[in-house]
Symmetry: C2
Subunit: 727 residues, 2 copies
């Protein structure tokens, strides 16, 4: 019997070595799948006849689930590894095509077309009879594929553990790469722009500098997705994942001799990469391919690969423009913590009413009222307040379990009165839940914390995950935490609460399915301007839309209009820092760094000192009917025009890296035959991101669809234009 | 300045080498503490002039908390270890004496005297200025001491990590030891009775046999507490811990060359032993010492070292005598799971209403009603039902996260109707929450699960923690889980729910503080009678009251009256097993194995076939005014008399090991001048725990305080007597 099966398998393999091909709707993208010698699943990808992905293997190493983890000092249980990289035979395949246009609750455009051709290949790992399907969806702008583990023939097969996923992305050459280090703990690195072959050398520098920081860089050639690449023959290639649910986050490990990237999943506390139960599937592995940078920015492939909205009622989800008791914390002008009376706080034990308040405590009634007044006066939706709740005295770095209760305000923060005050002025407070990565503690308090928000009228929470994950041994980007972040979003939705998650998992398009996930940080945001020995170079923001924003919005906290910190803080280290951008760069970010949740991050007094620039921040929309990607090169510049949702208003934003440059701007996105007034916020001639960031001009011009102009941007500068129809 | 401090330190050390002694209230127990050469904290203990604990060192290894856990591939953060075992100087000491009598909500007696002398020594670890206090409480029956970490001088010192605790218990010789293996995962071992020097050899056998079982035996000489010892000069010594809260459970590691036991804490996923924040303290380390086994059983030292009751209202906490849809599961007559239709269930996805029910599903309406009827007829308080809720099809061994929801009944279990039916008959159902050790999942559902119980009128839950802990890498007995078990009990108290926790942490007297913790398993209970290749020898139950019950009650599930399984099950492996005890042994357990929550574990039909024996089970009390420990030798026999709470009724229970024996019984515990009728359940002359377990006689006699008799017990047999005043 066994011999017979082997013969049949041999025959099947002979047949299957012939590739199955899949072509994108417009015919330009071609994917081929084949079982190579020995039953090795392999795919290739080409675009307009150019090879994009060379033959690349697909597969895993598994271990059985049904073993004890420990054992005795004399008999440790072994988990035999078994290969899921070879020995497959083809059971069959299915093809399909799909074309729909859907409307996001919020987004860069009000309609998104989702059009692909699909191939499902059905494989069997002969040795065990394990069934594995691979589903490919080919778009005109790229490929998505995922591993599907259908119902197995036995319970034993249904449960399995991923020792490693081995999904290859074999590149055709030593492309330019726009990358940050692969890391289990943080995404807050500055983007590097190097050849793939230079990653190893650059990584050494980064790795040496991190010291005791909360990082876990795992390899000299490991990078995070979304990874933007550019080939010498002009292709823009992006590797990422979509719909990361109940699975470990994927990094890419480069073999810099062969130019092959291989998936590297985030491990759990035992070093395993995933505990799965069939039927289930991996997230989508994605390869976006375009022949221009602008087309790459326009791609909706990641959102399209996510499931449709899971919420029945989304009427309560609203884009948010907000200010906050926040930048003053970044500048070191004020403090999250209320007191220095305790050498370590115990919640419920230490009595804050008997503690000596710090004069610097930012979240006090008077100061918060000042922000509320400012928000009301200038039309902001919400006021974020950080440091309102007890526990900040020793919140970080101690692996403290019961670090916050998310419900008890400091004595100088009257939660009821302040919310009432805000609501009377048409403003809401924004909740802040720093978890300090004490996950059990957050989940234990979550329901009550959300109920507390409902009670006082909060409808949005900025959550935070600073520091090592507890339970210890788990990582920010492992399956355990991926599950948690989504749990927090889904539980929030039950309470009609929007979530803006900081230090959480990178966006993979889940905001399509759960549009109350209205913000992410997942990046080095502008808070780093104030950090000693770090900062952010201007090119960073020109790469972010290709990478971290490929999958969802980012709360980058733009709008800093006083970019010189020397006079604003007593902190000697922060005095040496600056905003590393011009005012116009800051204004442009509201367009180039898409988010339905945008902060005006600077201090009220700084806005009052810059009323012209502030006017743009007040005017700019946060939700869009349409977006036009006018000019872009990752690492160099970006210029985008967006039409405000439901209005005849357009906004243009452009930024450049550390080099000044002039870009042509055609207004042909405007409706023909109509006249518009354009208010142009441009860098001053002497503007410079380090020396002279505050120089800018504001001019008004009448424009039509035929108008053209050249936009000059200073080094580290930008341009912002608001355009209104003239009736 | 530094030199000066050193000189002073030197002087202090010279002074401190002189011991500080502490004497127990009756003067028989003497503890001496000293700082030995090099500032090493050391203690000794003697009883009636006999040395009990030779000079034994106290201390720790710590690491700083404030370090990142990971790092990069090139720069791993180091956690420097620093010794807390030497270099101490004495800052001072305080003495106190304490004497109170308190009333437990339930217990072996209605009043407990708590009388000790106390010494608090205040130490400073010179190198860092770390403050460490050690508090000793000396009772007439033993010593308790704990490490206290007072408020430190800086936040950095306030947070620390225990790398290892090094508390020594230096024994004076190669005592007899009554032990089970030290293990991070399970307590379900059969007790061994060997010399300390024989532990290593016996452990080899145990360790080899565990195979792939869910165990984590960490060392060839590691044992669990409570550890019972007996010295050749007639002392009974017991090593344990009291009030295990927010700390890792302690095991003991024996140096079998020196006869020194050293504490061995359960590690976390990273291998650390505890994450602490001063002010805080360790649990009590306890050394009970008596010159008779009966006095050891009478000791309340563990309860006394716990905090008083933390619950304001305890009126809802009631002892419980219960039956359950349970033994039929153990016998393999019925199943927890409802269907075989699924190869792995996904809750909320798979539709049970479309599944094919197994005829064997035990928790069906009809069967549960049968148990309710039986409970009502015979006066039982509650009926436990296991397997009532969806998820049992693949609940075990797969590290499944979302394994149960604790709220959705199987289609054939009408939760509303069954509770109503039970309540109308004066009976309650007992809830069952098997967690499969998926801790996050349980905590996510806990509040709703307790609300569900309140809604339907459940007031007690049997919880279970079978399998490897999730989060993976954590252990059943580490700090993370110790915190969880108590969290579950405290949250239950908010809902007026009593908890009977199985596979949870061993009792350390916390039932004094949280008397809704009405039961524990934490041992090899009678379910093992039905297990292939295992079972329980009779001596086990004669050791349990000295060990596992030293700190709280155990749900041992006594009352099996049909001890031959061959005709009761279709399971071939179970047919070969038997109850390894006589019926009278089973009856005696209600007295010898103290618990305020006692099961009548056998099937209703088996009780109906043994109406005489069943009468004792119906009659026996579960709460007591007074207990008299009449005869005992660990590993051999136990005989106890107890007076029912608030009644003129006494019950006597006696059991023996695999040897038949006759024990004298004096009724002098009865009130003088009164007459009582004693109903004596005695082994038949031909009774034997393996061959003839069902042979017993029931006789009635009039007895007074002057009565005496000899009680003959068969091999693996026992005696049970109920005594009522004759009016």
């Amino acid at each position: 019997m066994k011999r017979f099966i082997l013969v049949v398998t041999g025959l099947l393999l002979a047949v299957m070595a012939m590739a199955q091909t899949l072509t994108s709707p417009n015919g330009e993208m071609v994917m081929a799948f084949s079982l190579e010698k020995g039953g090795v699943p392999t795919y290739t990808l080409s675009f307009k006849g150019k090879e994009v992905v060379k033959p690349s293997r697909l597969g895993f190493e598994f271990v059985d689930n049904a073993y004890a983890t420990y054992g005795s000092y004399s008999t440790k249980p072994e988990r035999p590894i078994y290969s899921m990289r070879e020995g497959f035979s083809m059971l069959g395949s299915e093809s399909a095509t799909f074309d729909e246009t859907w409307e996001p609750v919020w987004g860069e455009s009000s309609k998104i077309r989702n059009n692909y051709n699909e191939l499902l290949v059905k494989l069997c790992r002969d040795e065990r009879g394990f069934l594995l399907n691979i589903r490919f969806r080919l778009y005109d702008d790229g490929l998505g594929f995922r591993y599907e583990f259908p119902q197995q023939k036995s319970k034993k097969l249904a449960y399995f553990v991923i020792k490693e996923e081995y999904t290859e992305f074999a590149m055709t050459g030593d492309h330019m790469a726009y990358w940050i280090p692969g890391c289990y703990a943080t995404q807050e690195y500055q983007y590097e722009a190097t050849r793939m072959s230079e990653i190893r050398k650059s990584m050494e520098k980064v790795s040496e500098n991190v010291g005791r920081a909360q990082v876990a860089i795992f390899s000299p050639t490991g990078v995070q997705t979304s990874l933007q690449l550019r080939s010498d023959d002009g292709l823009y290639i992006n590797l990422h994942e979509a719909a990361l649910v109940d699975y470990s986050c994927m990094h890419l490990e480069l073999n810099d001799k062969t130019n092959v990237f291989t998936s590297h999943l985030t491990p759990d506390a035992l070093g395993y990469k995933g505990w799965l139960q069939a039927p289930c599937h991996s997230p989508w592995r994605t390869i976006q391919v375009t022949d221009s940078a602008c087309k790459m920015l326009a791609s909706n492939l990641i959102l399209n690969l996510n499931e449709p909205c899971a919420l029945e009622d989304t009427s309560w989800i609203k884009p948010v423009k907000y200010i906050g008791v926040w930048w003053e914390l970044m500048l070191g002008k004020s403090s999250w913590s209320y007191t220095k009376s305790f050498n370590g706080v115990k919640l419920g034990v230490d009595d804050y009413t008997k503690a000596t308040p710090r004069p610097s405590h930012g979240a006090n009634n008077e100061n918060v009222r000042r922000y509320i007044d400012f928000a009301a006066k200038h039309g902001f939706d919400q006021v974020l307040v950080e440091g309102w709740n007890i526990g900040w005295e020793d919140w970080f770095g101690y692996k403290k379990d019961y670090v916050f209760d998310f419900m008890t305000p400091y004595p100088d923060f009257d939660v009821e009165a302040l919310n009432k005050y805000a609501h009377e002025k048409g403003v809401r407070l924004m909740m802040h839940h720093e978890t300090s990565s004490s996950i059990r503690n957050y989940e234990r308090h979550m329901e009550q914390a959300y109920e507390f928000m409902n009670k006082y009228g909060y409808n949005a929470v900025k959550s935070g995950y600073v520091g090592d994950i507890q339970p210890l041994g788990e990582h920010h980007f492992g399956q355990y935490m991926v599950n948690h972040y989504l749990y927090a979003v889904k539980e929030a939705a039950k309470h009609k609460i929007m979530v803006n998650a900081h230090e959480a998992i990178r966006p993979t398009g889940l905001c399509r399915t759960y549009p109350n996930l209205i913000g992410n940080e997942a990046c080095r945001g502008q808070e780093y301007y104030t950090n000693a020995d770090s900062g952010i170079a201007p090119h960073h923001a020109t790469i972010m839309p290709f990478t971290r924003l490929n999958g969802g919005p980012v709360d980058y906290t733009p709008g800093i209009v006083n970019l010189k910190f020397a006079d604003q803080t007593k902190s000697k280290s922060k005095q040496k820092r600056c905003g590393q951008s011009t005012i116009c760069f800051q204004l442009a970010l509201y367009i180039t760094m898409y988010s339905p949740l945008q902060m005006a991050a600077d201090l009220p007094e700084n806005y009052e000192a810059q009323p012209q620039a502030f006017q743009f921040i007040k005017d700019v929309a946060v939700d869009w009917d349409e977006s036009r990607y006018l000019a872009a090169e990752p690492g160099d510049y970006i210029m985008i025009a967006r039409k405000a949702k439901g209005k005849q208003e357009w906004f243009v934003g452009g930024i450049t890296d550390e080099n000044s440059r002039t870009l042509p701007l055609s207004f042909d996105f405007l409706e023909k035959g109509k006249k518009y007034e354009a208010t142009i916020y441009a860098d001053g001639k002497d503007a410079h991101f380090m020396d002279n960031p505050h120089s800018y001009t504001v001019t008004k011009k009448t424009v039509t669809a035929k108008s053209k102009m050249n936009i000059a941007m200073a080094a580290g500068g930008g341009v912002a234009i608001s355009i209104k129809e003239i009736n």
